[in-house]
Symmetry: C3
């Protein structure tokens, strides 16, 4: 990758972290936590996936300890969210789009970071999905819900598909920027298509014992 691409991905990653923090803050607001509780949920939603990835890969210092800009961005994003929603409705459609972009970014950066340490493709795809989804999963556990990604529409699936496309395109002669863009479009496209047309994976339902 060129320096410009690394730079671009860093800014996108920071953007993804802030978007996930906003989604965490909104989820916390629906449970009427106190201000610090909201910040905690926002932080955990934003950094939970990348932190889990870094711990599993033994990658230290963990990304937000290595670069505290992430925490600053999360806290500012959370405070702006609290301030904004005192006066206006959260812009649901813009947030869904931003969330899809955040998922796409985390998927790609998760895959890239894992590739520096591991060569097995299954592990890389799983770590990419972990980076994209574990923050939201912890958010749901802390607010006492069955995690959304386990039950609703195409979410982790979009991350798995995007990471798979990203690895497959590396086998071609395409420049890495085209590869990254394509994989991100796969994630965003799947995610938005799922929302638009209510797509979801089949459910697996057993009778209660």
């Amino acid at each position: 990758m060129s320096w410009e691409e690394i730079e671009l991905l860093y800014w996108l990653d920071l953007f993804g972290v802030v978007v996930f923090a906003v989604s965490g803050a909104l989820a916390a607001g629906r449970k009427s936590l106190d201000l610090l509780g909201v910040v905690v949920i926002a932080v955990v939603t934003a950094v939970g996936g990348g932190t889990t990835r870094d711990l599993l890969l033994n990658r230290h210092p963990v990304f937000w300890i290595a670069d505290p800009t992430y925490l600053t961005a999360i806290i500012i994003g959370t405070l702006l969210t609290i301030w904004y929603t005192r006066h206006k409705e959260p812009p649901q459609k813009a947030l869904l789009l931003a969330d899809a972009l955040g998922l796409a970014v985390f998927t790609i950066t998760g895959a890239q970071i894992t590739q520096e340490v591991v060569s097995n493709e299954v592990i890389i795809v799983i770590m990419a999905a972990i980076t994209g989804t574990v923050g939201g999963l912890i958010r749901d556990v802390l607010t006492n819900k069955i995690p959304m990604i386990l039950q609703r529409d195409i979410y982790a699936t979009a991350a798995l598909a995007g990471a798979t496309v990203y690895l497959l395109l590396q086998l071609t002669a395409l420049p890495s920027s085209v590869n990254i863009m394509t994989a991100m479009i796969v994630v965003i496209g799947l995610r938005l298509a799922a929302i638009q047309w209510g797509l979801h994976l089949p459910r697996f339902k057993l009778e209660e014992e």
Copy 2:
């Protein structure tokens, strides 16, 4: 240990992982998650204990990153479970037996792995129990239940007893294969006796404030 024993334990460990994946898939089915949610719960149930052990012991790469055979086995086991239960009732008794065997295997491999790094016996016994029980605990948290191992019958207790027996027998001149078999029989026996006769530890009950 001889090479044959190491080989045998590896296959038993793989068997334990698959059994725990099946139990996770069935628990997920009772919550009507989507297909990917079922796979996620199955994976977490199967690898959660060993992963926690490896992170706490700073043992990298984590076992399923070092050997992706585990993930492949889990995914195949989960898909077979979904396919099987579409037509037939899950064989409850066989599953309880398989689960007891899985717990026994994880207890022994957990104790062995910990012994490579730590000499304190209390830590070894606890890590053995963590290896055997944390996967099921995370499964219960993700499906929004109070973890079964905290409230019902003899489960973690069987792991603690088996690991203790395993350490005690190391003080004798018994060959390691006899030691391993005996400790596994303790775990399985306690577990099956608890199921058969409804044994459980006394409860500790305080009034709600």
Copy 3:
């Protein structure tokens, strides 16, 4: 720090661990877990914060693996709690005071340990709060409640304030013992004031979708 101070902090840390174990055991008692479940919750409440800190900072062996005295103290404390509450009401006021002292100790030791590895002040303050609060958070998740620290009064806030005071006082010429005492008094004072007068942070409440 002098050897006397290090010694004092070690004993205080051990005291904090036992206090948190007692609070975990009492919480478990309200959910009528079995005896081992109570011990598990007590252990997790007592060591959860420090373990999370050590994993995030890549500090191995984790504190309770390095020094099993902690586990012994926790188990004795838990058994005494179970025995005591069979006959008498738990002494609520003494426990709240002890819990405030435990929070204060964990905040300071968390800040000190983090400072050995990291220089960024925001990270140090956050790790101090993690050390003081994550154990209780996991306790609440395992007993299937929305974590108390996310919703009720001044708790994590007291840890954040105490750690901030601790860092600010390091810029002065005060001896470290005065610094430590002052920061602990800030935590305890805020905590007790919050209980006494029902202080809490403002809530952030959104309409349910």
